[in-house]
Symmetry: C2
Subunit: 454 residues, 2 copies
């Protein structure tokens, strides 16, 4: 945190106007959050008793059953499942080797929606692209029958902005390579760690473009490949990636409400996602989010507005749960949405998309969060994947409690996303910040939707 931010935070703590909700709430809730055991209990249980829970699979169905039972055991007797159907892709065998000029085994995982090499695999010459821009610049047809290898320079950032900058190697690289005739594509994992962990994640092919096999290698493997290319000899690779599309399958959202005392007030929806990638137990992505929002909501006593918990299904594989929620609840009046889906690191900033009339609420939240070291930022809040559809449908207010993502992309979508990565104290700081914020917003009876854009 810089000095200016510190001074700003200090001045806000002292100078802000009186709250429109009882002043006792924030301190009590922050204390309660900092002692919370519920979030850890949810994360520990979900990772241990369910484990991986990829969207559309039997494991995710087990996770829904586990979740409803857990929420009911926490007193949320209205916990329920809303099922939906979605096209489902599942991983098969995955091996990779550099076969020339030096033999090396690769640690590789297929990207979601990858094509298959077939059981016999594919061996071909590899063409190296230092960046996604270099791949874009390759002449059409220049990759025919070859494997494209795309690297990048993603580094750790507190706000995760490096994912936006370097993620396109995964998001669109395979589609670009396929259109240029490549037989397959291998990317340097969109990550920031130095372990032999590939980072999976969805990629998308345009309609009419046949999916090619697309995999991510671990960063040590990628850097070894770069050193091999420095030797200037032709590089060959053998890949076996045999994922399959298994058609429409059942997924679902788990939903529970903390009923508000004034049923006429539009509701607050708070989201995490229940599904994980299949390579790990999804502790930070996103069992932590479900733990945080639930523990926090349970600490808000008798809110005026209903707080709805949305543990969304099938986020990783296409945000199917968020879209389904947006459609099924389009006619139910919502006021504001929040989401926790960026790990379990400490919250360091808060962003708002609120109407001008809600300045007293915004100021109250800033004041309540200042003792936790959380600073307000000037820009609007962006929301999150699973609340995107309902926000768009109803033009909702948004509050983002921004987590420190410095280490998030060390773990994101890797086999390393396991319970041991979560710091209990940081998890509790999240619960405290969420509880204080929710208490203020759920007891605010003014307008929460921002002014329409001109």
């Amino acid at each position: 945190m810089n000095k200016k931010s510190l001074l700003l935070a200090a001045s806000l703590t002292v100078a802000l106007p009186a709250l429109s909700v009882p002043a006792f709430a924030k301190e009590t809730l922050i204390e309660a959050g900092m002692k919370d055991d519920i979030a850890w209990d949810i994360v520990e249980g979900m990772t241990t008793e369910v484990g991986q829970r990829q969207g559309g699979t039997e494991a995710e169905a087990r996770a829904r059953g586990w979740s409803v039972a857990k929420l009911k055991s926490l007193g949320l007797t209205n916990a329920r499942i809303e099922e939906f159907q979605m096209p489902t892709w599942v991983r098969g065998e995955e091996t990779g080797y550099v076969t020339a000029p030096f033999p090396h085994k690769l640690h590789i995982s297929a990207l979601g929606n990858s094509g298959s090499t077939g059981d016999a695999g594919l061996e071909a010459e590899v063409v190296y692209f230092k960046t996604i821009e270099a791949l874009r610049a390759a002449p059409d047809g220049s990759l025919t029958g070859k494997i494209a290898f795309v690297s990048h320079a993603m580094q750790r950032t507190q706000d995760g902005s490096s994912y936006g900058a370097f993620g396109p190697a995964r998001f669109v690289g395979p589609n670009i390579a396929a259109k240029k005739g490549a037989a397959a594509i291998v990317i340097r994992s969109a990550g920031t760690d130095y372990h032999r962990n590939p980072h999976t994640g969805n990629t998308n092919f345009e309609a009419g473009v046949m999916p090619i096999p697309a995999g991510a290698v671990s960063i040590p493997d990628a850097e070894n490949l770069e050193r091999i290319f420095e030797r200037g000899k032709p590089v060959k690779m053998k890949l076996v990636l045999t994922p399959q599309n298994i058609g429409m399958q059942t997924s679902g959202n788990v939903i529970a409400d903390i009923k508000g005392s004034n049923s006429k007030l539009p509701i607050i929806v708070i989201a995490c996602h229940l599904d994980s990638w299949d390579l790990a137990t999804g502790a930070i992505d996103d069992a932590a989010g479900c733990g945080i929002i639930t523990a926090a909501a349970l600490k808000v006593e008798k809110p005026k507005r209903t707080i709805r918990l949305l543990w969304a299904g099938a986020e990783e594989v296409g945000i199917w749960g968020g879209k389904d929620y947006g459609e099924k609840h389009a006619n139910e009046a919502h006021a504001l949405a929040m989401e926790s889906d960026f790990g379990a690191g400490k919250i360091w900033a808060v962003d708002f998309t609120l109407p001008a009339s809600a300045k007293p609420l915004r100021d109250s939240i800033v004041s309540a969060l200042a003792p936790l070291g959380i600073v307000p930022r000037p820009g609007p809040a962006g929301g999150g994947a699973d609340i995107g559809a309902i926000i768009a449908a109803q033009k909702l207010g948004i509050i983002d409690l921004q987590q420190d993502g410095t280490k998030y992309f060390d773990l994101h979508h890797t086999p390393d996303d396991t319970l041991d990565k979560i710091d209990k104290a940081e998890l509790r700081q999240n619960v405290a910040a969420w509880a204080a914020t929710l208490s203020l917003v759920a007891n605010y009876d003014g307008e929460l939707k921002p002014e329409p854009k001109p």
Copy 2:
């Protein structure tokens, strides 16, 4: 480093007697070591152009060819291979799943000398032992048909002593479990990291004990298993481990000499090992050691004693190279042995096994190393695996330059032992300390062998 050690180091720097070798050597060599590029070049080349090089395999043969060419390119024109035969075990398929009460995929690798489950695998109830002592205490026959799971509490230590304390889960656990009738054994990896990396390594079965399948799971997997056991329900596991013994194969040592000016003086042998485990490129274990000893030896100009480089073969899988060297060179006069095989961390301590008459040499070395932050320890030097046979045969003097092993067991025998883990500045500090020490010892013409033990 504690305060007492700091004072001790300071007093030694000031108070020690004059050197028996030219005083210019140490500072010049330390400067040269701190600018060294040779060690990095060797590690970078071996990990990139060879990669994994398990003892007894074709990959190790390629590594020997690469090594002789590299040593010759560095001016060591007498670089040569001494082949030997050894029994060879190779990894097969390896998968593991918890099948009850909650399904989980395990990250597992077979231990060297593990038996095979056969292609169909093995599914059985799992019995949990918190420590190797608890396994020892299990009644004979109590494990019949079951899988033993042995955990432990290994933590990071600077001197690596935790490996001695907790390594027996791997070293002897499988033999104990086999004798008690277990169908297989799974251990918590003998390591200190929290990544989904199993730590392989050899285990040994007594003559007459049929090897059972024996694997190590990653530490996140082991802790998940412990949490599953806390639920109190029966735990089942399915293992497929299909390693094979492929009989006697060729391995070999790579040897090169820096000729001394006085051929009547017994030689100094300095060792690393050329082979690695198969899961990674063996950067810290032990390409780094080969880089360090070679770069250092090349900096010693015109030594009186011959300095012999021993890049030993097949260390990981049974110290075959060290034994072969001890046998083949039993009649050649050696004076002292040193080894680098504990990674690439900074050297923090020096140990000696020397005769009392060599006190001036010892003091000179301590004085030379003090500016690098290296402290002398009171105990004798222990040597290392590959110099063990020649030390035992000829009762040699020994100097150990002790590396900081705090993070060594994060990487040891895992897929993560790759080039990116090496800090160039720390590697250079090793070269500097080795060059200064070698210069002093190789120009010392007094007795180096310790007095016979009473």
